[in-house]
């Protein structure tokens, strides 16, 4: 369980996190979403006691994390896969960390096996790919068998097989009753992995709810229409008050129609003898809900003049 209450963190004059409150529950995978620069990493750092909050509190299992003299059995965290010394082997890196918390070297072998790095355990970390470093970071988080796990952008640099593995791992950890909190700016990934979402933008809370409720927030429900007579249909639908966006590739164009229900579109096409080969209601995706809700709070928007 992670409880963040009225958390504020400023660096100099810039407020990175602004009066943020949310709770992350055990037994679920909770996604922490926000555009780049929204304050996700800052929030994670304050929860982990690395940065002191300017205001408010962050507690893990009811107490500030820094009140523990040793941390690995309380919280496992992967903040950045690059937070290692490239000159050490994976085994040496993990052994030093394990030893500092009184954890046996057997556990080091165990977690290396679990993340699939057993064969390269004796290699220097500097020779690892980003995906391998992510696995090492996950191994670090698992060392102390902690009830709370936090991962910052864990799938960056992972191959598809790794992404699948890590998704199953998160689900399993949550099923074991642990609190699993992972940040990402990749909505599609959250859609497949998370149960709950905490969404922030410019340091403020935008939403804290289930993935389904969040996706349902999107107002842009649309109907996808496939037709060889796209121009005719577009004119027709526009005249009927709908707005039409072409999408897809040449030869397989489709129209995304908003403002008219699917049955009306079908009827109009039938009346005007326009051939349809696809007519589908598109459920709002998490991606769209996210884009819509964070549109006002995107820190770095391409092409925006300042």
């Amino acid at each position: 369980m992670i409880e963040v209450i009225e958390l504020t963190k400023s660096y100099g004059g810039k407020t990175a996190v602004d009066q943020l409150s949310f709770t992350v529950r055990p037994g679920l995978v909770t996604g922490f979403l926000g555009p780049n620069g929204a304050g996700k990493t800052t929030t994670l750092r304050v929860i982990l006691g690395l940065d002191a909050p300017t205001g408010g509190t962050a507690a893990v299992s009811g107490v500030p994390f820094r009140s523990h003299p040793r941390g690995l059995r309380h919280v496992g965290a992967l903040l950045d896969a690059g937070h290692v010394h490239g000159g050490r082997t994976a085994t040496a890196h993990l052994t030093a960390l394990a030893r500092s918390n009184g954890i046996s070297t057997l556990r080091v072998e165990e977690v290396l096996g679990e993340v699939g790095l057993a064969e390269v355990a004796g290699r220097r970390i500097g020779t690892f790919s980003l995906g391998m470093k992510q696995r090492l970071g996950i191994a670090t988080a698992l060392l102390g068998d902690p009830p709370v796990l936090m991962f910052d952008e864990p799938i960056n640099g992972m191959d598809p097989e790794g992404v699948l593995w890590v998704r199953l791992l998160f689900r399993r950890l949550a099923a074991e009753g642990r609190t699993v909190f992972l940040s990402s700016h990749l909505m599609t990934e959250m859609e497949q992995t998370a149960d709950q979402l905490v969404v922030i933008g410019q340091g403020r809370l935008i939403a804290a709810e289930s993935v389904q409720s969040f996706a349902a927030r999107s107002t842009r429900l649309s109907v996808i229409v496939g037709t060889p007579q796209a121009a005719e249909l577009t004119a027709l639908l526009t005249a009927a008050g709908a707005s039409v966006e072409p999408e897809g590739s040449p030869g397989a164009e489709r129209l995304a129609v908003t403002g008219l229900p699917a049955d009306r579109i079908g009827a109009l096409a039938f009346e005007h003898r326009i051939l349809l080969h696809e007519l589908a209601i598109r459920r709002a995706s998490l991606e769209e809900a996210f884009m819509e809700l964070t549109a006002d709070s995107v820190e770095y928007l391409a092409g925006r003049s300042r």
């Binding site: 750092r45 006691g49 690395l50 500092s100 670090t140």
Partner: protein
């Protein structure tokens, strides 16, 4: 948060079975970190060989010129201690020990490893103390080996002219102790500076400048300037390891032996205490 209220409540505080936090574990962890870098071993071996070699070279030079000295010069053996603990070798030792002490902290800051370390061990002060303890232990052991070896090598060479200094001589013992402790003193100062400054290049420059360049800037000519100079680690080592008792009447311009020992303790102590204070309050 209200949107989460429909979820089943789960107890907020799951008890975690945990052994007591022991400093020995942190010491062992820092020892593993130091040992597991190949560059550390190479640096230590090459530095040791260089320092001992410099004592041999200095002694051989005096061995060959011994017949040309006056009877008085031959009797005093003043150069014996300077040959056992030559400036070239021991300033290099200061440079390397200070740098390795700094790297112990700076390499963690520059890679971000410090965050991994401090999530594993939120008791930051204990991490600093464990690093200090490992540096002190390693460099005291190595410093003792180096000082003993360079003394033994130089005396076995100078003994050919019966110009050696018996180890039992109080000046010899003091010189050997001061030379053995020079490395851990510098390593701890380097560590403290590394934690305070955090940036690699700036730390290296500051550490080298403070240990090696700063003392010669202050002349022994005026009272205040001499006092500053005498409070430097390099001057303290020179006083303890190279000079006999200054002749009476030379006045305040020479550091005292007692004052030099105080300098030896004060510098690393202040560096580590400042590091402990800063590391506690600063964001990582």
């Amino acid at each position: 948060m209200t949107t989460l209220a429909s979820l089943p409540p789960v107890s907020a505080t799951a008890p975690v079975a945990e052994p007591p936090a022991r400093f020995g574990d942190l010491f062992a962890a820092e020892w593993i970190k130091m040992r597991s870098l190949r560059s550390t071993a190479w640096t230590l071996v090459l530095t040791s060989l260089f320092v001992i070699g410099s004592a041999a070279v200095a002694s051989l030079s005096h061995y060959h010129s011994q017949p040309h000295y006056s009877a008085l010069g031959q009797r005093l053996h003043l150069f014996s201690l300077r040959d056992a603990f030559p400036v070239a070798g021991y300033l290099t030792l200061m440079l390397v020990a200070g740098s390795i002490g700094a790297v112990t902290a700076v390499s963690e800051y520059s890679s971000g490893l410090i965050r991994t370390t401090m999530v594993a061990v939120p008791a930051r002060g204990s991490v600093v103390l464990a690093k200090a303890a490992v540096l002190a232990a390693v460099w005291t052991a190595l410093g003792t080996i180096i000082a003993t070896a360079s003394f033994a090598v130089s005396q076995s060479i100078l003994d050919g002219w019966h110009a050696g200094f018996p180890i039992a001589h109080p000046d010899a013992l003091r010189a050997l102790t001061a030379s053995a402790l020079l490395a851990p003193v510098c390593a701890l100062i380097g560590l403290g500076l590394g934690i305070l400054i955090r940036h690699s290049a700036a730390t290296m420059v500051t550490s080298t400048f403070t240990l090696l360049m700063l003392p010669p800037i202050f002349s022994s000519g005026t009272h205040w300037s001499a006092d500053v100079r005498n409070a430097m680690v390099q001057s303290a080592w020179g006083r303890l390891a190279q000079d006999g008792e200054p002749s009476p009447g030379s006045g305040f311009l020479h550091p005292t032996a007692a004052g030099s020992w105080v300098t030896y303790v004060a510098w690393p102590l202040i560096a580590i205490v400042l590091a402990l204070v800063v590391v506690r309050y600063r964001d990582v």
